[in-house]
C-alpha cells in the first residue's frame, strides 16, 4: 500500500463515521421530507421546498463532518497522509451519501408528483447535493465553533428562502442553482434556465472548494528542516 493514505480509505472512513450518527441521519431524511410534505399540493413548490431542505441538511452535515475531521487532520498529516486525499475522500463520501439520499427523493417525487421533466429534477437534486457539500466544507474551514457554524449555515439558507429568487442578491447565495434547475424541470424552459442553473452550481462548487483548499494551504505552518 502506498504511503500518504488513499482517497478511498478516507471516503470509507467518512461513510463509516456518518453511519454511526443515527439521529443525525434520521434528521437528514426527515428535514427535506417535512419541507416537501409542507408544499405537497403544488409540484413546483414542493420540489423547490424539497431541494431547499436537502441543501440545508447536507450542508449542515458536511459542516459537522468537516469540523469533526479537523481534530484528526493535523495528526494524520504527521503520519504522512496527503491532505488533498483526506479532503477528496471526505468530500467524495459526503457526495455519495447525499446522492443516495437524492435518489430516494427522486423516487418519491416520481411516485408522488406529476412533473414535466424528471431527469431535470434529478439534476437539480444532484446540484443541491454538490453545492451543499461545497458550502458546508468552506464554512467548516472558516467557522470552527459548532454553534456558530450551524447558525452561519442557517443564515445563508434562511436568506435564500426569504429573498426574491429573481433578484440579484439571491444569485450570490450558494443554493440558488438547484432552485433554478428545478424551476426549469417543473415549469419549463420559459420559467427557468438549465444552463444558468448548472453554471451557477459549477461556479459555487468550484469557488467553495478552491477557497477551502486555499485556506488549508494558508494555515499550514512552515518549519525549518534539519540539514541531512
Amino acid at each position: 500500500m502506498k504511503t500518504g493514505g488513499s482517497t478511498l480509505t478516507a471516503a470509507k472512513v467518512t461513510l463509516l463515521a456518518l453511519s454511526r450518527r443515527r439521529a443525525t441521519l434520521a434528521i437528514l431524511v426527515l428535514l427535506p421530507t417535512a419541507f416537501y410534505l409542507a408544499r405537497r399540493g403544488t409540484p413546483g413548490q414542493s420540489v423547490r421546498s424539497l431541494l431547499f431542505g436537502v441543501s440545508w441538511a447536507i450542508s449542515t452535515i458536511t459542516y459537522f463532518a468537516t469540523v469533526e475531521a479537523s481534530t484528526l487532520r493535523p495528526r494524520l498529516s504527521l503520519t504522512g497522509w496527503k491532505a488533498y486525499r483526506l479532503e477528496a475522500g471526505r468530500i467524495g463520501g459526503l457526495v455519495i451519501s447525499g446522492t443516495v439520499l437524492a435518489t430516494a427523493f427522486i423516487v418519491l417525487v416520481a411516485a408522488d408528483q406529476d412533473v414535466r421533466n424528471l431527469s431535470g429534477v434529478a439534476a437539480a437534486l444532484f446540484a443541491a447535493v454538490v453545492t451543499a457539500v461545497a458550502f458546508g466544507e468552506v464554512v467548516g474551514r472558516i467557522v470552527t465553533k459548532e454553534m456558530e457554524g450551524a447558525l452561519t449555515i442557517f443564515l445563508f439558507a434562511g436568506l435564500q428562502a426569504v429573498l426574491n429568487p429573481f433578484g440579484t442578491v439571491a444569485k450570490f447565495l450558494p443554493f440558488w442553482s438547484s432552485r433554478e434547475i428545478a424551476t426549469y424541470a417543473v415549469d419549463g424552459p420559459s420559467e427557468g434556465s438549465l444552463s444558468n442553473g448548472v453554471a451557477h452550481a459549477v461556479t459555487t462548487a468550484a469557488f467553495c472548494f478552491v477557497a477551502s483548499a486555499a485556506l488549508r494551504l494558508l494555515n499550514r505552518p512552515s518549519r525549518n528542516k534539519l540539514a541531512a
Partner: protein, 269 residues
C-alpha cells in the same frame, strides 16, 4: 504492599533512573534475598520503592541520564515565543533534544505546554524563533485526536494508511502496542463509548503506530490507572532504548524522575 509488588515497582524505579539491566537485577535480587531472610515487610525495611531506588542510585553515584549527550540532535528549538491577543504564552524557549532522550515538559496550567507541543509538531506557528528537525513525528493531543464515531481498528486502519500500512499490518501493530498498555482491543465500541483512560490509550497508540522518530505527547497518561501508567513508562523506556525520542508533558510528579531532561515552563504575562 505485597513483597512481589514492591520489588516490581522497585525494579521499575531503578530502570526509570537509568540503571543498567545487570546492575538492576543484582540490586533487586539482593534486596529480595534480604526481605526473604529477615522475614519482614519490604516497606518497613526499605521504605517506598521510589525513595529506596533514589538512595541506591545516589549511593552508586550513577547519573540518571543514561543517554549520552553526544547523541545526534533530533529536534532543536531556538528562542520560541508565542502570544495570544498580546498576552504572552511562551517566551524564549530553547530545546535541544537528542536521540534516545525523554524530555519532560512541566509547569502549571496555562504555562503553555500544549502550545509548545503544537508548535513543535508544526501545527501552529510561533511568533518568534525556529524549530529545527528532520524527525518523523507522532503527536498525541491532550483532548480530541480521535474520531468519536470510529471504532479502534478503524482508527488504526486510518492512521496506518498514512504510513502505507494495510489494514492487517496496522491492526497487528496496534494490538501489539495495546497489549503493552494492558488493553485488549475489541471492536464492539466506537471511540466515544470507550472509557476515558482507554480512549487515551487509543490516542497514544495512534501516535506510536508508524514508529516515528519523535513522540510529542500531551498529558498522555492522564486518566490511566497506576498499572497502566507504569506500563506506559515501560513502553516509553523501550522506545528510548531503541533510539526513539519523546517530549512528554505532565502534571504528575513522577515524570521528573522518569525523564532524562526537564523543561519547566512558567506562566508568562
Amino acid at each position: 504492599m505485597k513483597t512481589e509488588t514492591w520489588l516490581q515497582k522497585f525494579s521499575f524505579e531503578l530502570e526509570s533512573r537509568g540503571l543498567d539491566p545487570k546492575r538492576r537485577s543484582e540490586v533487586v535480587v539482593e534486596t529480595a534475598g534480604f526481605i526473604d531472610e529477615s522475614g519482614t515487610e519490604p516497606l518497613e525495611q526499605f521504605g517506598f520503592p521510589s525513595d529506596y531506588a533514589a538512595s541506591v542510585i545516589s549511593a552508586l553515584g550513577e547519573t540518571t541520564n543514561p543517554s549520552p549527550p553526544d547523541n545526534p540532535t533530533i529536534m532543536s528549538a531556538n528562542q520560541l515565543s508565542k502570544s495570544y491577543r498580546s498576552s504572552s504564552v511562551l517566551s524564549q524557549i530553547d530545546i535541544d533534544l537528542r536521540e534516545g532522550q525523554i524530555l519532560a515538559l512541566i509547569g502549571p496550567n496555562g504555562s503553555g505546554k500544549t502550545t509548545l507541543l503544537k508548535i513543535l509538531a508544526g501545527m501552529i506557528q510561533p511568533d518568534h524563533g525556529t524549530v529545527t528537525t528532520s524527525a518523523s513525528i507522532g503527536y498525541c493531543p491532550q483532548i480530541g485526536g480521535i474520531n468519536p464515531n470510529l471504532r479502534p481498528t478503524e482508527h488504526l486502519q486510518l492512521f496506518g494508511a498514512g504510513f502505507g500500512l494495510d489494514k492487517d499490518q496496522a491492526t497487528a501493530e496496534g494490538k501489539r502496542l495495546a497489549g503493552q498498555l494492558d488493553w485488549e482491543i475489541t471492536d464492539r465500541m466506537t471511540a466515544s463509548e470507550l472509557s476515558g483512560g482507554t480512549a487515551q490509550k487509543l490516542s497514544l497508540i495512534l501516535a506510536m503506530l508508524g514508529r516515528p522518530d519523535l513522540l510529542l505527547l500531551d498529558e498522555p497518561y492522564q486518566g490511566f490507572d497506576n498499572k497502566s501508567a507504569q506500563r506506559f513508562w515501560e513502553l516509553l523506556w523501550t522506545w528510548r532504548d531503541n533510539g526513539g525520542a519523546a517530549i512528554v508533558s505532565s502534571h504528575s510528579e513522577d515524570v521528573l524522575i522518569r525523564a532524562d531532561q526537564i523543561l519547566e515552563l512558567e506562566p508568562t504575562s
